[in-house]
């Protein structure tokens, strides 16, 4: 509730600044500054012709597909790095380095290899999030309390049993945090990928707003991108995280 009041105040202040800065004093050009009323108007328009829904749905689908592939690759690489000392020593620094690359850096490669297609976008999403997941997996396993694995060893656990019955559940809380972070990387990378293509999506709608000199549309899409990011975080990842921690008496 307090949050909603805060947002209302924020929007009112924004509208106030617009009136003073654009309408009264004429300090700023109206095409360069969005206004809440304009954004709301654009929201109604883009909703009624279905554009916004289609764009959000397409982006979300791409985001999910890319993310799922990134999770599979990320976990596999993470497990390998964790398991083999050689890879831990030599591959991990490379993965860490690559992970610091902003995802937009992968755009030239993706266009050369996949053209202006959905695959090009997926490539950027995967490269943008898989390696952060790998690093999280490796760290999550390293942070397991040694007593868990020791206890299981003295109860006769084989390597496979150790992974299934101890390493996986023990690292789960940290793993979910890593996956959550991976999603936020994927979602950001998705936008880097989408602004370059013409297939319908939030990124493309944003660029279309720029091309039409419609700053309210640009702002609207930004708000939607943030909203989707928050909703996925709060409704999926945070819920899972809390449930796991509560079950273990950690929350």
């Amino acid at each position: 509730m307090g949050m909603i009041i805060f947002l209302v105040i924020l929007i009112a202040a924004w509208q106030g600044f617009y009136w003073i800065g654009v309408d009264v004093l004429g300090l700023w050009k109206p095409y360069a500054v969005p206004e809440p009323a304009g954004v709301a108007k654009r929201f109604v328009e883009l909703c009624s012709d279905g554009t916004l829904f289609e764009a959000t749905f397409n982006s979300l689908m791409r985001g999910i597909v890319g993310y799922v592939i990134a999770v599979i690759i990320g976990i596999a690489v993470g497990l390998l790095i964790n398991h083999f000392k050689y890879l831990q020593k030599n591959l991990k620094p490379v993965v860490l380095g690559v992970q610091t690359l902003p995802s937009v850096c992968w755009v030239p490669f993706s266009i050369l290899w996949f053209g202006l297609s959905t695959n090009a976008i997926l490539f950027v999403v995967i490269m943008g999030s898989a390696f952060s997941i790998s690093i999280s997996v490796d760290n999550a396993i390293k942070n397991i309390q040694p007593i868990y694995t020791k206890a299981a060893l003295t109860m006769g656990a084989t390597k496979k049993q150790m992974y299934i019955n101890v390493i996986f559940p023990a690292s789960l809380p940290e793993l979910v945090s890593g996956l959550k972070q991976g999603w936020s990387f994927a979602w950001r990378a998705l936008m880097s990928g989408e602004v370059m293509t013409t297939s319908i999506g939030l990124g493309q709608t944003l660029i279309m707003g720029r091309d039409l000199a419609d700053i309210n549309q640009v702002m609207l899409v930004m708000v939607v991108i943030v909203a989707v990011g928050i909703i996925i975080d709060k409704c999926i990842f945070s819920v899972i995280e809390k449930r796991i921690l509560k079950k273990r008496g950690l929350a």
Partner: protein, 247 residues
């Protein structure tokens, strides 16, 4: 002989002298042996070697005539910190080792309940680990260890992280459980009283040499009582002995 240690030696790379040196010890099946010594005398190292969690620098460990090579279910350890899994509840924790061994579900249930009753936790079987007390956690760990039917049960100061009252209560129960089950137990402790109370034999380690300083048979019949004159006498005697060697 269930467990035989022959000329066992452990010398950590970064330390000047050997932590354990020429340890010779034979433990019979059904025997309760306590290892005592001041902290840093290598008693936990000894347990880790027998458990297979660490490798000896020299000598041999034989279990029923076979050389120990790495950890295994025939030498389950009960740790000082319970080592229970927080993502499982009490009974799931107790069943863990049986599950790994592929014991049929019905038998797991039966055996788990049997040992939970033995440690008086049958009413807490569905509790999450974080909702039970430290003493109850150690009882759960004890029940879990008992289900393993290990050839030797290794206990690494299992009661020392508990308050005095709980710790005394648990050692009384361990004495009773041992009398019922006659498991072979190698028990590590820094408390002479605990060692004399529980053990058939008490093995004192010397921190200076890393060798066995003395092995004392405890012939007081069970159930033992810490206030009985013979107990007090023997405890005093061994304490003097261990203290003398430790200095």
């Amino acid at each position: 002989m269930a467990l035989v240690l022959k000329g066992l030696k452990k010398h950590f790379e970064n330390s000047e002298k050997a932590t354990l040196n020429e340890i010779d010890l034979e433990i019979e099946s059904g025997e309760f042996v306590c290892i005592v010594g001041a902290s840093g005398c290598g008693k936990s190292t000894l347990l880790n070697l027998v458990a297979g969690l660490e490798k000896p620098t020299g000598g041999q460990i034989l279990l029923d005539g076979e050389e120990v090579n790495g950890p295994g279910a025939d030498r389950t350890v009960m740790f000082q910190e319970h080592g229970l899994f927080p993502w499982l509840n009490v009974i799931e924790n107790v069943k863990f080792g049986m599950k790994l061994a592929g014991v049929p579900k019905e038998e797991q249930e039966k055996k788990a309940m049997h040992y939970l009753e033995m440690v008086h936790l049958q009413d807490y079987k569905d509790y999450p680990i974080h909702q039970i007390s430290g003493g109850m956690r150690q009882r759960t760990a004890l029940a879990r260890a008992l289900t393993m039917d290990s050839k030797v049960l290794l206990m690494d100061e299992p009661f020392s992280a508990l308050d005095k009252q709980t710790s005394n209560r648990l050692r009384e129960e361990l004495q009773r459980i041992w009398m019922e089950t006659k498991k072979t137990i190698l028990f590590i402790t820094h408390s002479v009283e605990e060692a004399v109370y529980l053990g058939d034999r008490v093995v004192a380690l010397s921190p200076d040499t890393g060798r066995i300083a003395s092995i004392i048979s405890i012939d007081i019949p069970r159930p033992r009582h810490v206030y009985s004159p013979e107990f007090v006498e023997l405890r005093h005697q061994i304490m003097e002995q261990v203290r003398g060697e430790a200095v």
